[in-house]
């Protein structure tokens, strides 16, 4: 195996995801320590034209095939395995996203490579790759070391600055043959389904009152609605509230929901799982109410209270009226 760092490019509708540049920036920083260079696995159709956006890399391994235009865990997985065979990287960085999760874990089994997932940080320490995983809903961190000749780390989106990896350039392009069987795979991409338009666009509001499972039942939602209307804001939520169909999907904040950046984010009965934090950590003022004093949301909030939301919210609404 070599010393290069391979970044797996993620793209949707012909545009690279921010996390691709986050990983590229980090890879450039680590390449000095491994004594290798940065390369990119670019799997898709017609994406080679966009390789100039990957100027932070010295080389792009391109698997280009019309059947790879849209992400497919099976065929993109085989294509990535082919790139890894070819590139023999010391470290493969994959985003811990919906697409990246599929790629990283399938690569780990296919190539029998160590995988460290949910990484918030990656370092090179002597002959070891060391990565810190965020576990147990963000309550525990684990620092793992691997001295394997080739290691996969899947990195959480949003933890490294994207600007560091956003450089135009002209990396060398090396074609890697697409794997067989792309057109009659057992998993067949059909279509992208766009999000439905909602009644309220939570990304446009300055003040958001966010409810989580702590709200207990749909019948308690008016508590949040009243507070939001006293503040002139809107109600949004964590995922379980949407999965329970108490609020439409357009109100969901987080990894699989919307990213919001309001002036005020009032989190009521939300534990602060990493997937939720990803969507709201950039709010200007975060105030969290949660009866569990160890809830990870308090790491990210500016102000917190362990009062029961059912006592606090009515009192607060009264004061704001």
């Amino acid at each position: 195996m070599g010393q290069d760092i391979l970044v797996v490019a993620e793209h949707l509708k012909g545009e690279f995801a921010d996390v691709t540049f986050e990983l590229l920036g980090k890879a450039a920083e680590l390449a000095g320590a491994t004594g290798g260079s940065v390369s990119v696995a670019l799997i898709g159709s017609g994406m080679k034209d966009k390789a100039q956006e990957l100027g932070a890399a010295a080389k792009v391994y391109s698997v280009d095939h019309t059947g790879l235009a849209d992400f497919n865990p099976l065929t993109h997985g085989s294509a990535l395995a082919a790139v890894v065979d070819h590139a023999a990287p010391r470290l493969t960085l994959v985003a811990n996203t919906s697409m990246g999760m599929d790629l990283a874990a399938s690569l780990s089994v296919a190539k029998d490579l160590p995988l460290i997932a949910y990484a918030l940080d990656v370092q090179v320490d002597g002959d070891a790759i060391v990565a810190t995983s965020q576990l147990y809903g963000g309550k525990i961190y684990a620092e793992s070391a691997s001295t394997g000749a080739s290691v996969i780390v899947s990195v959480l989106a949003g933890v490294f600055p994207a600007d560091a990896g956003r450089t135009n350039g002209s990396p060398a392009i090396e074609d890697v043959a697409a794997p067989d069987g792309i057109d009659d795979a057992q998993v067949r991409f059909q279509a992208l389904v766009e999000p439905e338009g909602g009644d309220v666009d939570i990304t446009q509001h300055d003040i958001l009152v966010a409810v989580g499972r702590g709200i207990g039942s749909e019948d308690n939602l008016p508590l949040a609605e009243e507070l939001a209307s006293a503040l002139g804001g809107a109600v949004c939520s964590s995922r379980p509230i949407v999965d329970s169909k108490w609020l439409p999907k357009t109100r969901q904040v987080g990894k699989s929901g919307l990213k919001v950046k309001p002036k005020v984010y009032l989190a009521l009965g939300i534990s602060g799982a990493p997937e939720h934090i990803e969507g709201m950590k950039d709010a200007e003022l975060i105030i969290a109410v949660n009866t569990d004093e160890t809830a990870p949301i308090f790491e990210f909030a500016h102000y917190g209270s362990t009062e029961d939301l059912f006592d606090l919210v009515p009192a607060l609404t009264e004061k704001l009226k």
Binding site: P73, A105, K245, K263, I287, Y303, G304, L320
Partner: protein, 252 residues
Amino acid sequence: MNIVVPVKLVPDLVEELEINDDGTDLERDFLSYKINEFCDHAIEEALQIKEAHGASVTVIAIERDETDKVLYTALAKGADRAVKVTGVDEAATTHTAAKAMCTVIAGMDYDVVMTGVQAADDRDGQLGILLAGYLGVPCVSVVSDVSVSGDTLTVHKEYSGGMMARYEVTPKIVLGVQAARQTPRYAPVSRVRQIMKETELEEVLVGDADVDVGSTVRRMYTPEKGEGAEMLEGSSEDVAARIAQLLNEKRS
């Protein structure tokens, strides 16, 4: 259609999690385990398919403190078979758990394996995807909105911002379920008790699978409380007054 649902028991995050003396794992002696919430969704989705199209649902779990209860509960909800896998170390990695599940499932007559999309203790990857790799079948994870038509399934894989990709898949396949089409059902306690009296769980001894995950935990710790939140103290009236003040400052 035969559906197998491997469920994972994970430490209950509501309890305080302590680190062991050498700082490399949780202190497992007094941990209480509960079903991983996404596995609950996988069970629900399997039962929905069973009710709509007819299917046999087998739930399997690696033995932990609460495994019997979780398996009996699944039977009470409508699963057809429940299998307890014994002999796997509590501190096993996800690769090890996936390998153990593979040993049991590979011998079953299955079409679809539905796992929860991820679990709180997945340091080395998500079980469903690893399991698919060991079984040698494809996997689509982060899935919701599953529907069945004849021998094919249509699934939606969730991206961010509410965007989804729709795939058609042909068994055998592993699906990592993010959300069932409806909130996981509850099993009445009386029904669970009755099942416990009438049924004996199937047991399979697997023992620790021989997988080298290739990494070791140097240090496990509670994240330092950086700046953290300024905690507001006092009665709920006091706290409400202080929050109102903060909000009014920000609004003006």
